[in-house]
Structure formats: structure tokens, C-alpha cells
């Protein structure tokens, strides 16, 4: 069936794969009709997809450095786009984004604008030039452009801080899904998740991760779009929700007026706290009520814009994204590939607000059979889906005013429930819930793989090979790379099993860390010839230190926000200091030597050989 080169056959291979996956969904649907249990369906979805990823990982095994680090630089634009989209969209994007929009509305949408707008910076400022450079890792660029081990090492440190903050959340997400689907305790499920992640990346490095990420993208996008379209059609909201939900958005606005968006009083919140109290060792309730209007502008311009700026600059400095563009065959392909990446991301991001709208309306509208607001509390508590999700600690009703009817401010839900529970509320078959679990798993695994690989590659290539043992043979380098992969994976899993995720903070911090330390050293490395080693060192070190110091000032010492810069946007402090330090120090010290200046000139034109050799 398949003849010739693997790369030439990619559309065919993934076409068959997609067909196979759709057939699998249909088989599961038939199984459900014939009485297959929910548990069995969930297990089949997660086990089957993880098995396929592991198989791809094994088929992509390699003993060559350029295949391990940059997938042999032969990934076609569209496929690299899909892989980047999977790399990019984390378990959090998949499971929590629609929930964030549902509860926080406009203020949260800054993340959508930021996480997409950042790709314009990637395409225009960085990706094509770093591809021309021919580096294996992001610190490889910093180290070669500025020269010296200090700059290289600092880049590795910033990369590790940012990526590790991010990766524990991802391993945590795979653990959560594995523990629900396989019905095992979370402490074990985390390691099941980790082993699945490592199976994709350990043997094939970047090559293995690339081809599994493409497969994971296909699963996650089907798992996200199918329910959105299905629910929209079932509710009669329109067959193409993206273009047809204006009436629904307006209707939510009317209902909000009718029910009134009420902030709960401290007494009511105390009642809520009492109702959600847990024993030590039990999972916590993380619930919110609707306190913001759905489509109104509810944040100040600066709040919105500052968050968007941080996410955009962070996107352009996160190494696990940047390194995906090192795998394209040419500079031209790298540019186009950024466009494809954003297109594939857009498919999911533009659907999240639609899902939030559908989910909210189906719960709020009394004229719909699924609407619960205004119904009697006992009636709601008797609903099958309410009981399930209440047991999962994702839904709660409270009769604060004691009138026996459910008011808008008396219904609480976890952010994940919007994606996880809406199919069930809308009355879709359970097979869709199994599909959503597989999609969430794919999203979390693909991002975790990209991040772990980014850290391990930077340490193995830039610290071990470039600094410690430059004469090491390829086989030895790849052993070191793989050992590091496992060590970092286990470190991440251990941290998330201990449940100290809160200490490491949110995924958003990863963007601020990356932006503080790396944004200007990377951009100025290409766009400002005069930038030199001393400047870059000052920029990275002072950027990271000042950003972190500001975060500690806010979080640990409860300091007041300066200029409206909060914990989610501390990168603005870090990056500003980084820019000033880098410019001032560069100008105070001597210009880079002629060879470096020539190197920058060469990076700026696509033609000719890359700066670093194909194998280095």
C-alpha cells in the first residue's frame, strides 16, 4: 500500500490514520449501543490512542544526532504546523479554556488574542532567522551568536525555569485524565501518564515527537470540534456554530438581565466553603459561579492589553515552540509553517468561545429542556448528570436564599466541566465523553513531550556536549540526552504527584519567565548587530532576576501592584529591565567582532549554507 519514502507518503499515512480513528469512534458508538460499559469505553479510548502514539514513537527511533535533535530537518510545512499546534495547545487549553471564557468572559479572552498574536512575532522576528542559523536548540543560537559559555548557560537556565513551570501542569493533566479513565489513584496515574509521554520521545527524540504530535493533533481537534458542532445542531443553534451564534450570545445577555448577575455575600461564600470542605488527602473542589457578563467588556484596556502583550512576547520566547521551526527543510518553509501552525491553533481557539456560549445557554435558558436556572433545587439535584458531576466535585447547587429555586448565583461549576460535562448535559452519547478524554490526553501529552524534550536537549546539547565534553561521540551524546529526558520527566511527575502545583504557580507564569529572560536577547540577536555578549548576559540575567523578584514581591510579601502589573503580567517588568540592561551594557562595551557581524549578515538572507553545520 505504501511505497517509497515516508515523507512523500505523509498525506496517505495520516489519511489512513484519521480514517482508522473515525472508524474506531464508530465501533465504540456501536459498542455503547450494544451495552458496553462507560468504564470500558473510557479505557479503550485512552489505551488505544496511547498505544498508537507509542507505536509511532518506536517506529521513529534513531541513532543520528540531527534526526534526534531536529527530526532530520525534513518535516513539511503543513505537518510541522499540525505538530506545532499540538505542541502548543496544552491540556489546559483543551480542558480549561472554554471554562475560563465561560466564567471570566472578556478579561480571559486576552489570552486568546495573546496566544495567537504571538505567532506574528514568531514568523516575522525570529523563526526564519533561527532556522537559517541551523541551531539544534534555542541556547545554541544564543551561545553561537553572542559567543561564550556564560551566555549559553544563562539561556539554558531561563529555558529550564520557564519550561519546567509549564511541564508539571501538563504531567498533572495526563495524570488526572489517566486516573479518571483507568480508575486508578492519581499518585500512580501520574506515572502512567509519564511513561506514555516518554514512550513517544525517548527513542526518536524530535523525530518521534514530531510524528506523534501530528497524530495527537488529529485526535484532539476531532475531539474538540465534533462535540461543538453536534451540540450546536442538537440545540438548534445553527449547523455552523462559529457564524451562527449571535442570537444565542444576545439571548444570554437578556437572561443575565433577567436573572441578575449577583456577587455572593460573604455569608453565602462561607456557606459555600462549608459545603465544599474536604478531609486531608482528598481532592479539592475548585468551583466558580457566573459573576461576569458573557459578551460585555469587563476589563480595563490596560488589564486586557498587558496580559495580551505578555502572552505574545512569551509565545515568541518559549523554546519548545521555537525549536519546532528548526525541523523544516528551509527558511521559506519555516515562515509558511508558522502560518499553518496558527491556522491549526485557530481551529480550536475559535471554537472555545462557541462551546462556552452553548454550554452557558443550555444551562441558563429555561425554555430549553436542559436549562436548570429557575427550576426547583430538588429537581436539579435529582438529575443524573448533576449527580455524576457533583460526585466528581465539579458541580454544586446551594439554596442561599432558601426559596427552593435555583438562582444564577446559586449554581457552581468547575472550569473543566464546560468541556467535560457539556456533552453529557446536552444528551450526547457517552462515546463523545470518551473521545473528549482521549483528546485531553493527546493535548497534555504532546505539550509535555515538547517541553521535556526542550529541556533535555538544551542540557544534553548545550551543557553536556558544548561545555563539558565537546569531543563526545554521537552515540554517547544521545545516551546522555535520553537519560536526561527520563530524569526530567520523573522530576516533573514527582513534583506533580506531590501536588505542589500551586507553589509552582500557573502556566501563565511560564510565559512571563520566558519573556523576561529570552525575548530581547533572541530578537536583538537578529535585528541589532551591535548587540554583544556582555549585553546579552546582562539582559538574560537581570531580566530573569528582576521579573522573579517582582513576582516574589507580589506573592510572598503581598506587595501592591505597581502600574497595574499583576502576578500574571510580571514579564513586563522582567522584559523591560532586560531590554534596558541589554542596550546599555552593549553600548558600554565593545562592538561584536567582524566575524560575528558577518554571521548576522548571513542569517538575514535565506540563501546559502546555515551558520552551524548540518551535524554539529
Amino acid at each position: 500500500m505504501i511505497k517509497g519514502n515516508f515523507i512523500d507518503n505523509l498525506p496517505k499515512v495520516y489519511g489512513i490514520y484519521t480514517g482508522g480513528f473515525l472508524a474506531f469512534i464508530i465501533i465504540m458508538a456501536i459498542g455503547e449501543q450494544m451495552g458496553m460499559s462507560k468504564y470500558a469505553i473510557g479505557v479503550c479510548f485512552v489505551a488505544f490512542t496511547v498505544f498508537i502514539y507509542a507505536l509511532i514513537g518506536w517506529l521513529s527511533r534513531t541513532a543520528q544526532a540531527d534526526a534526534y535533535y531536529v527530526a532530520g530537518r525534513q518535516v513539511p510545512t503543513v505537518f510541522n504546523g499540525m505538530a506545532t499546534a499540538a505542541d502548543w495547545m496544552s491540556g489546559a487549553s483543551f480542558v480549561a479554556m472554554a471554562g475560563g471564557i465561560y466564567f471570566k468572559g472578556y478579561g480571559y479572552m486576552a489570552l486568546l488574542v495573546g496566544w495567537t498574536g504571538g505567532y506574528v512575532l514568531v514568523a516575522s522576528l525570529l523563526a526564519p532567522y533561527l532556522r537559517k542559523f541551523g541551531c539544534y536548540t534555542v541556547p545554541d543560537f544564543i551561545g553561537t551568536r553572542y559567543g561564550g559559555n556564560t551566555a549559553r548557560l544563562l539561556a539554558v537556565i531561563v529555558l529550564t525555569v520557564a519550561s519546567f513551570t509549564y511541564v508539571t501542569a501538563q504531567i498533572n493533566a495526563t495524570g488526572t485524565i489517566a486516573s479518571v479513565a483507568l480508575d486508578i489513584p492519581f499518585e500512580y496515574a501520574v506515572y502512567v501518564g509519564l511513561i506514555s509521554i516518554l514512550l513517544c520521545s525517548m527513542l526518536g527524540g524530535m523525530r518521534g515527537v514530531t510524528w506523534t504530535q501530528v497524530a495527537q493533533y488529529i485526535v484532539l481537534i476531532i475531539a474538540y470540534l465534533l462535540p461543538v458542532f453536534w451540540i450546536s445542531n442538537k440545540m438548534g443553534a445553527g449547523f455552523f456554530p462559529h457564524f451562527m451564534l449571535a442570537d444565542e450570545v444576545a439571548r444570554i445577555g437578556d437572561l443575565e438581565q433577567q436573572f441578575g448577575i449577583i456577587k455572593n455575600s460573604p455569608e453565602n461564600l462561607a456557606m459555600l466553603k462549608e459545603a465544599t470542605k474536604v478531609q486531608p488527602g482528598e481532592a479539592k473542589w475548585v468551583l466558580s459561579g457566573i459573576t461576569k457578563a458573557h459578551s460585555e467588556v469587563n476589563a480595563t484596556p490596560w488589564k486586557f492589553i498587558s496580559l495580551a502583550i505578555c502572552m505574545m512576547a512569551g509565545t515568541a520566547s518559549l523554546p519548545h515552540v521555537m525549536m519546532r521551526y528548526f525541523t523544516t527543510p528551509s527558511v521559506k518553509a519555516a515562515r509558511k509553517s508558522v502560518g499553518w501552525s496558527l491556522f491549526f491553533i485557530f481551529l480550536l481557539y475559535s471554537s472555545a468561545p462557541m462551546l462556552a456560549t452553548l454550554s452557558k445557554l443550555s444551562l441558563m435558558d429555561p425554555s430549553l429542556p436542559t436549562g436548570i436556572i429557575g427550576k426547583s433545587i430538588t429537581e436539579v439535584e435529582a438529575l443524573e448528570w448533576y449527580k455524576n458531576w457533583n460526585q466528581a466535585k465539579l458541580m454544586l447547587v446551594q439554596d442561599f436564599n432558601g426559596n427552593g429555586l435555583l438562582e444564577l448565583n446559586e449554581f457552581f461549576m468547575g472550569g473543566k466541566a464546560v468541556v467535560l460535562a457539556t456533552p453529557e448535559i446536552a444528551g450526547l452519547p457517552y462515546v463523545i465523553s470518551g473521545l473528549v478524554a482521549a483528546g485531553g490526553m493527546a493535548a497534555a501529552m504532546s505539550t509535555a513531550d515538547g517541553l521535556i524534550l526542550a529541556i533535555a536537549n538544551a542540557i544534553s546539547h548545550d551543557v553536556y556536549y558544548k561545555i563539558i565534553d565537546p569531543k563526545a561521540e554521537t552515540s554517547k551524546r544521545l545516551v546522555v540526552a535520553r537519560v536526561l529526558l527520563v530524569v526530567i520527566g520523573f522530576a516533573g511527575a514527582t513534583v506533580s504527584a506531590m501536588g505542589i502545583k500551586q507553589i509552582l504557580g500557573s502556566v501563565i507564569w511560564a510565559f512571563d519567565f520566558a519573556m523576561s529572560g529570552l525575548f530581547f536577547p533572541l530578537v536583538l540577536g537578529v535585528w541589532w548587530k551591535r548587540a554583544n555578549k556582555e549585553g546579552a548576559i546582562a539582559g538574560m540575567a537581570l531580566g530573569l532576576i528582576s521579573g522573579t523578584a517582582y513576582l516574589v514581591y507580589l506573592e510572598a510579601y503581598g506587595g501592591a501592584e505597581i502600574l497595574g502589573i499583576g502576578q500574571a503580567t510580571f514579564g513586563i517588568v522582567g522584559a523591560s529591565v532586560s531590554l534596558v540592561a541589554m542596550v546599555v551594557v552593549s553600548l558600554m562595551t565593545s562592538a561584536p567582532n567582524a566575524a560575528t557581524q558577518r554571521m548576522v549578515d548571513e542569517v538575514r538572507v535565506p540563501a546559502g549554507k546555515s551558520i552551524l553545520g548540518r551535524q554539529h
Partner: protein, 86 residues
């Protein structure tokens, strides 16, 4: 000016245009978020709401492809494009 300098001048010009468009749709319009939301946008959504859901996001996709094509033309014009196919 050498060919290489001319190429870089043109590339910088393209970068500035690209970043200007990017700035308008990622930052500029949100300065007037509240006012703009009073207007009905495409498909009947409130305008600011539409930009955050679809408008800005989709525009960035188009912008990147447009930028890539223009940059390719500039590279070809000065004979700096890569040889070989991809």
C-alpha cells in the same frame, strides 16, 4: 548600497508594516474595547466580542501568510532565495 543592504532595508520595511498591522489588531483596538462593543460586528456578534473570538485570531493567520509571501518575493528580487524545492 550593496545588494545585501538593499535587501535588508526592504525586509525591515516589510517587518514594520507587518508589526503595525499586528499592533492594531492585538493592542490598538482593545484601547476602545468598551466603545467598540456597542457596534454590531460580523455575523451579528458585538464587535469587540467578535474580534476576541475570531476576528483578531483569523487576521493573524492571514497576516502571517501574507508576510511570508511578501518576504519570499523580496528574497527572490535580490537573488537571495533558497535554491532547490521544498
Amino acid at each position: 548600497m550593496s545588494k545585501q543592504e538593499q535587501h535588508w532595508e526592504k525586509s525591515k520595511g516589510l517587518l514594520l508594516i507587518t508589526l503595525a498591522i499586528w499592533f492594531v489588531f492585538s493592542i490598538g483596538i482593545f484601547l476602545f474595547g468598551a466603545e467598540m462593543n456597542e457596534v454590531t460586528g460580523p455575523f451579528g456578534y458585538p464587535l469587540t466580542y467578535w474580534f476576541t473570538c475570531q476576528g483578531s485570531l483569523g487576521l493573524f493567520v492571514v497576516l502571517i501568510f501574507w508576510f511570508a509571501n511578501r518576504q519570499e518575493k523580496i528574497d527572490e528580487e535580490f537573488g537571495f532565495s533558497e535554491r532547490g524545492d521544498d
